[in-house]
């Protein structure tokens, strides 16, 4: 399978969106393009499985390699392993759902969809790249669409949030840039991840560069204390913007932390693992407790995202194979779940014009579909068996528990404790919005989900329930890749 297809479809969709004239055409072109991309992602998935079944043991499959700039040894080098395939699947799920829930955007429709597609193009390119320069290019390409999405179509204190997000993410990029150039010169003018992973880089250099790369990608994935853009950015963004931010964009950071920082600089990872564990434990607990105090549904989900992403950072820093697999599963699960969460919040807000938990009540009576989905995604968030959240968190905890010293155990226990807090805020939120009497008389006449909203919810639910019921297809995809990373950490 040619990986250029996965970049070509979004690029073509974006150009077509610019060319067509009416809003209806823009919507359908985007939808068809995103669906085609979803199909292409599945084709990639099946092609990948076929290759693996045929005993193809190459680390990266379907590699494409063109020289971009000879003088700097920059290559347009693409390739996938299990992690990238899973991430691309996640992205295409979220993109289709995001486009469907934005069906009613009337203000500057064309620009809105174009920016969404540009953002998704950045994400696809990022997950496909095996060249640090190209990877960085796609990472930064996704920053400005976020700024404009929040700034133009956002709500609340959108100016502040958009600026904060753009500047903090650019700050992260600046750190990555320095780390990347450091790797480039140490590796003898090399941006190629495969080549760099074969090098033995001296421990001193690894200790020097690792913080740049890990913190840089950490900003993108809301590493404590660089998480402050998350609540503001998510709550001010339009629905699809929040879905893309939490579902895709934060995953770019997590993927980068693993693929670039930990994989290329294992000695650095060992040196700083303790600090990362402390920071992510703080994020898990702090995020959970702050969520408990939130009254606004979007803020609630934003803070709970910080807590959930903390799980995957914690598991990564454990540096064992099961834990890293768990971290990746948590990223996928959280991506689907949080995108659906934001979608449902958006649907509720469109109807009730409020996001405050206190002001809602009895929505089950008027909007059974939306509320049911809300229940399901809430249960997924608190880790109910049968949904993806349980599988992912379980793998994280099992993997973390394998490291048997008091420090890692204590961190694991702290993380497990947060589940109780999660249960409290989730049950309280869905209870008081869905159950009880209808508080506001105007809510009695609200309509349930339209076809596009139903379709969006169903697509994401398929992912969540699919992983929950049959997690093995996902973990089988991730395990070999995670093993390569842990082997490098162990020095094999």
């Amino acid at each position: 399978m040619n990986l250029l297809l996965l970049l070509g479809i979004p690029l073509l969709t974006g150009l077509l969106v610019l060319l067509v004239s009416t809003k209806v055409q823009v919507r359908w072109v985007s939808f068809v393009g995103a669906t085609a991309q979803l199909i292409a992602s599945f084709l990639l998935f099946f092609a990948f499985r076929t290759e693996i079944a045929d005993q193809n043991t190459a680390q990266f499959l379907f590699e494409v390699d063109y020289t971009l700039i000879e003088s700097f040894n920059i290559h347009f080098h693409l390739g996938v392993d299990g992690i990238s395939v899973a991430m691309i699947l996640l992205t295409s799920f979220v993109v289709v759902a995001g486009i469907l829930v934005s069906w009613n955007i009337e203000k500057m429709t064309k620009e809105f969809y174009f920016l969404l597609i540009l953002l998704s193009l950045g994400a696809y390119g990022f997950f496909l790249s095996l060249d640090l320069f190209v990877l960085f290019f796609f990472l930064e390409m996704a920053v400005i669409p976020k700024y404009l999405l929040i700034g133009i179509w956002g709500s609340g204190k959108k100016d502040y949030s958009a600026n904060k997000l753009a500047l903090m993410l650019m700050g992260g990029s600046a750190l990555i840039l320095v780390g990347m150039l450091g790797l480039y010169f140490i590796g003898g003018h090399e941006f190629n991840i495969v080549h760099l992973s074969k090098l033995t880089i001296s421990t001193d250099y690894q200790h020097l560069i690792f913080p740049f790369l890990f913190l840089g990608f950490g900003v993108f994935t809301a590493l404590f204390p660089f998480h402050t853009w998350v609540p503001d950015g998510h709550s001010s963004a339009p629905t699809a913007g929040s879905m893309f931010l939490a579902g895709i964009s934060m995953k770019l950071g997590g993927y980068g932390c693993l693929r670039v920082a930990i994989y290329l600089l294992p000695e650095g990872a060992k040196e700083y693992a303790h600090i990362i564990i402390v920071l992510s434990s703080i994020a898990i607990l702090y995020g959970a407790f702050v969520t408990m105090m939130q009254k606004d549904l979007k803020y609630m989900n934003a803070y709970s995202s910080i807590s959930h992403v903390g799980f995957s950072l914690l598991a990564m820093a454990m540096l064992t194979q099961t834990a890293i697999t768990g971290a990746l599963m948590q990223m996928i699960s959280h991506g689907l779940m949080t995108a659906l969460f934001f979608a449902v919040i958006g649907m509720i807000y469109d109807r009730t014009h409020t996001r405050m938990v206190d002001e809602m009540g009895g929505l089950m009576k008027t909007m059974p579909f939306i509320t049911t989905v809300f229940f399901l995604v809430g249960f997924c968030s608190l880790g109910l068996p049968g949904l993806s959240g349980f599988v992912a968190e379980m793998t994280v905890f099992v993997g973390s528990w394998q490291v048997d010293d008091w420090f890692h155990r204590a961190a694991t226990i702290a993380a497990i404790m947060s589940i109780v807090v999660t249960a409290v805020y989730i049950l309280r939120a869905i209870g008081s919005t869905a159950m009880g009497p209808i508080k506001n008389p105007s809510f009695a006449t609200l309509k349930d989900a339209t076809w596009n909203e139903k379709l969006a919810a169903v697509i994401l639910l398929i992912g969540i329930i699919g992983i929950g019921i049959a997690p093995s297809w996902l973990s089988n995809l991730l395990k070999p890749a995670a093993e390569i990373i842990t082997n490098r950490i162990m020095g094999k």
Partner: protein, 465 residues
Amino acid sequence: MNEFFHLMKTELIVTIIIFLLLFIKLGKDIKNEQLLPFIQFVLLVNFIASFFYNVDGSLFGDMFYTNSLIAFEKSILSLGVYLISLLSTDWLKKTSHLPEFFILMLSALLGMCLLLSSGNLLIFYLSLELATIPIAAMSNFDLIKKRSSEAAMKMILSSAFSSGILLFGISLIYGITGTIVFAELPKLADGSSLFIMAFVFLFSSFAFKLSIVPFHLWTADVYEGSPIAVTSFLSVVSKAAIAFVLLTVLSGVFQPLQDIWYVLIVVLSVASMLIGNLFALRQENIKRFLAFSSIAQVGFILVGVSGNSNIGISSVVYFMLIYMVSNLAAFGVASVISEQTGKENISDYKGLYKNNPLLGWVLALALFSLAGIPPTAGFFGKLYLLTTGGAKGSYLFISIAALNMIISLFYYLRVVRAVFIDKNDQPIEKLTIQLPVKLALFVCSVSIVLLGIMGWIFDHIESLH
């Protein structure tokens, strides 16, 4: 004789155009509407001609030399002049002395071409003067505006001052070494404190022309007062020429002193980036805003210069090309708005996108490119500069440069926010964009998108030397 025509091809063509314009001026009055398309066409021919029949060689006892890299640099300058003639169509049609304006601009271009080819300090000084004095006269071209005369006065005083310093440096060098030929100087450079002092004088005059901090004080006022056509010429073409010469002088003539000038360049680069960025944050007038942003950009260019390698030279040349199209696109939009509405403040740009989506997109693209955001070419340009600068292994320097990219993003986003996001009860009306302006904006936008992605352009520049 044949060699003479080949080697001095660009200079001769420019001279012929100057004389042509002089004769047109002497003859009967031709309306601006008829003359301008002709001039634009001739400048296009000049640009295209600069790509053909380029040979390496030297003339007049090494006083004048050229090679394929210099020829390419001259093409960049010709492209800049051509684009400016298109972008300022609105203003040029109204001006009462059209031929004179182009005579002055082309004289400056001639000076710059000679400057790039100069092989000794004498012709270097003469061509630098030829490249500067016409610009001062051009700054004064908005004859009825007081600010314009003020700008011209500031320009001529500061450039006279910097010429004085330059001459002093040159005479010191001659006194120490007894030669003014570039090719002989590296062997004779003894690194004595007197020679270092001469170098510092010479470098200060470069710093004046490039508006490197702390020699930048004239920049903002001159940019603001001059007509936009002149401002863009000054900030793009003139800067590019001086930057190219700085490269050859530093890596050629002063190569023995490289440990000394590396420190100098790093310090001045950091100062320019910081001061330029911090002052740009607060500017209201779009021309002043671009003036300070260009000071910061020069700081970036110095990052590439500090690399002191062939690839460093290529990345500076490449960056100048990108900086030229990006900055010209921004100036082009500013010029259309300023000519038709008289508005030059960023707050006037609020809601621009509503009635003028095309101008809004071009401006956003240009500013993103200046800020170094992918997929625009500016991203590639800045990254290459940082990569070549980083080869010296100073992480602190690269970190400061990367940090400055964040600061600069903040103020570029301010303009983008005004254009796309901010509400305005009376946004700028729908403006009519003339065909030449449209063409130039199109060329600039396409270049901004494609120059970076098409990596072979960089490899082509790299292959030139």
